[in-house]
Amino acid sequence: MTRARKVAFSMAALLLLLTIIGVVLSAVLLSPLDREVVVHWNLAGEPDRWGPAWTYPVLIAVLGLVLTAIAIGFAFLRMRGPVEVVDPEPIRLAPGEVAGWSRTVMASAAFYWAVGSAIVVTAAVAAVAIWATSGRAWPTVFLPVLLIVLLALTGGWRVSAGPRGLTVRGLFGLPVFRVRTADIAGVVAVGIQPMRDFGGWGIRGALGRDGHWRTGLIVRAGDAIQVTRRGGKRLVVTVDDAATAAAVLKAYLTP
């Protein structure tokens, strides 16, 4: 059993334990379970729906079991990982010559339109909710703000490769992912399908079939650079012209 699978099973066990505790605790606190309790509040914070007390233990049980199932799923889930691999020759350098490669990758226009629309809609809903409750619904602004922050942090990447290694920055400078040359065991260009290889877009993690963790900075399908660290972990960044970036990094690897 790999370490990653052990972690997944421990998480599942912990979630199951928490679920049982939650169900027992809520059942004890709410007993007798056939009495009526509030199950919904309106925007003004006044109760507007009642239901049997056993609603809560059932809700906790269902939620907990779903989360546990997801954790067990992770123990068996193995992302196949990139299939198309290009292993370029290192670029040739004259004595004393230094080569550096840099490129920015952006998510597609469709992605920006989708997230942009979501920001507009959630902001409008928040504005109406805050107005209707004369300010009490102010936490609703967190959703559009969260979307804006997520878009700024993961909507595109600035990728640089050279003698010092690989540096990846968000469009506004943060976050930063860096793999130093001394820590690079190997580098290739790969073809990425976001759903198949990482289960989606953004900053992703996935377990490879070899049991090693793979971090993905994924904004689209297609060309990506894959750096394998000496410990076996991998960093995958979708970026155009990834084969050139890999060739530059390979020129500086010590065998």
Binding site: G96, A99, G100, S102, R103, S160, T167, R169
Partner: protein, 115 residues
Amino acid sequence: MLISIDPNAGAVYDQIADAITVRIALGETVQGERLPAARDLADALGINVHTVLHAYQRLRDDGLVELRRGRGAVVIGAAAVGEVQRAIDAAIHAAKASGLGEAALVALVRKGHRS
């Protein structure tokens, strides 16, 4: 964008600006394209960010890029580079045909540009 330099062969900012000018002449970097952020190219080459900014300023002074706060360096002089490249190709052709050496050709271009 792939840039190579030789830190022991003259001013690095001149080498970067030269390399980008050549890329524009070859059509590898096109009109309206945004150059990498100075910090990114500095990360890539393992040099100081000010050296890259210096190179970008030379490209601006040469009329090849436009520097805008927040937008970075944008190529605006691709057409001019293409036109001058054609004239220089003709001059090189003439120099080779008449046996004139490279140093002499460079000297003539430099003298002509300064006067």
